[in-house]
Symmetry: C2
Subunit: 242 residues, 2 copies
């Protein structure tokens, strides 16, 4: 079973204070880019893997989805998602994405934001997603970028001349990374971009877009701290079709 760090009190409190938790999708700077990868949702069956507070599920329903199912491992997040959703066509279910079985041919879009880097057996999950999608269906997801997850000691380094760099190492050493983000001992799975893409191709997905996300000039003007994303991206966005 995946480590359920979101139900850790300290992590949950920290996570709840992030911009993306308070302001929802608009609090996530990569959201406009991810949204641009979505198909028309009118009448669609939608699944969100790692739905958290349900922001995307509600967005999909507002955009015309016929039914939306959000899966998450965190009881606390699902409880808040249910509290803030009044719509019978949006269903939240507790699930471990390592072992989740989706009904074959049941949906038109499988979406996931920043969840897959917690999953160890991603091959099985991708296989299940492939089977769950109807012909013409789409798979759109974001994960932490491998340059962000790779280092043995992540964190910006400032050299004597004031130059700020990201100390890359272990890039091709795939597997678990233990970091202290919001709580101690959070385990993430580091994978290269090639691994994500080949995992899709091997399951007969057609890769349609790969984006190593960076902020626009307007976003940097509004939120100067985002500038460092251009030095080393945090997010990888991928779209594929069946």
């Amino acid at each position: 079973m995946t480590q359920n760090v979101y139900d850790n009190e300290e992590f949950f409190e920290g996570y709840s204070r992030l911009g993306r938790s308070i302001d929802g999708l608009d609090g996530a700077p990569e959201w406009p880019s991810l949204r641009a990868l979505l198909p028309p949702l009118n009448g669609a069956g939608v699944v969100d893997l790692g739905c958290g507070f349900g922001w995307f599920c509600r967005f999909a329903r507002d955009a015309g989805a016929a039914h939306v199912t959000g899966y998450d491992v965190s009881e606390k997040m699902l409880a808040r998602a249910r509290e803030t959703t009044r719509d019978e066509a949006v269903v939240y279910q507790r699930a471990d994405l390592e072992t989740l079985t989706l009904a074959p041919g049941s949906c038109d879009l499988v979406y996931s934001s920043l969840a897959f880097h917690y999953i160890e057996n991603l091959e099985a999950l991708f296989g299940g997603v492939r089977r769950a999608l109807r012909p013409g269906g789409r798979f759109v997801f974001s994960v932490e970028h491998p340059t962000f997850t790779a280092p043995s000691a992540p964190g910006w380094v400032v050299d004597a001349s004031g130059r700020k760099t990201w100390p890359l190492d272990d890039y091709l050493v795939e597997g678990p990374r233990v970091t202290d983000w919001l709580a101690k001992g959070v385990v993430k799975q580091h994978r290269t971009i090639g691994t994500y893409i080949n995992m899709l191709i091997a399951r007969d997905f057609a890769v349609s877009h790969v984006e190593e996300w960076g902020p626009s000039d307007a976003q940097i003007d509004a939120w100067p701290a985002l500038a460092e994303e251009r030095q080393r991206p945090t997010f990888l966005l991928v779209a594929a079709r069946v």
Copy 2:
């Protein structure tokens, strides 16, 4: 026109002394992985963009290709390629890859090893490759990996504890990089993996493999310096089909 650094005396001498220049394909550690991406060559029309000394052209012909054309901007490399090839089905032509026009529907494989990161207008070249390929044709190439080309000051950094890292910055700042590799002022074009992949997808290629190349354990045993490739890859290998 692309900078023709290979005809610079100093660069040419340095390049000629590299393992991959002396031992050919077997002197390039990524070659077995690149070769694994090739289609059967029997009877195929093959083009090599940036053919250098002609090692791949001769390999393709030995593997059964019906005709092979190698293009390169360097007179010196083409001269040596012609000297070492006795085969009328292998033709070498001088060409600037920025402006090369390939005959539409003329070949089954377009191959290129470590040439595209010198090309500014890669969109036009990829468009020409797409048109040159017959139905079912393949496009297989390697470029320098973006984590390798990105930094404003490339070079391993060893910290006080002896940890060796690669100082990543400017990853999302695409464009020229001037380095002193074999000669001063060599200009390379830095692009992200996403940019290469989306450039293929936009021209209706189906991406079939993306590999951020690293050495095998056996290769590291035989050539211990290769171990650092696992910290930060130097090569990106891509295969696509029409």
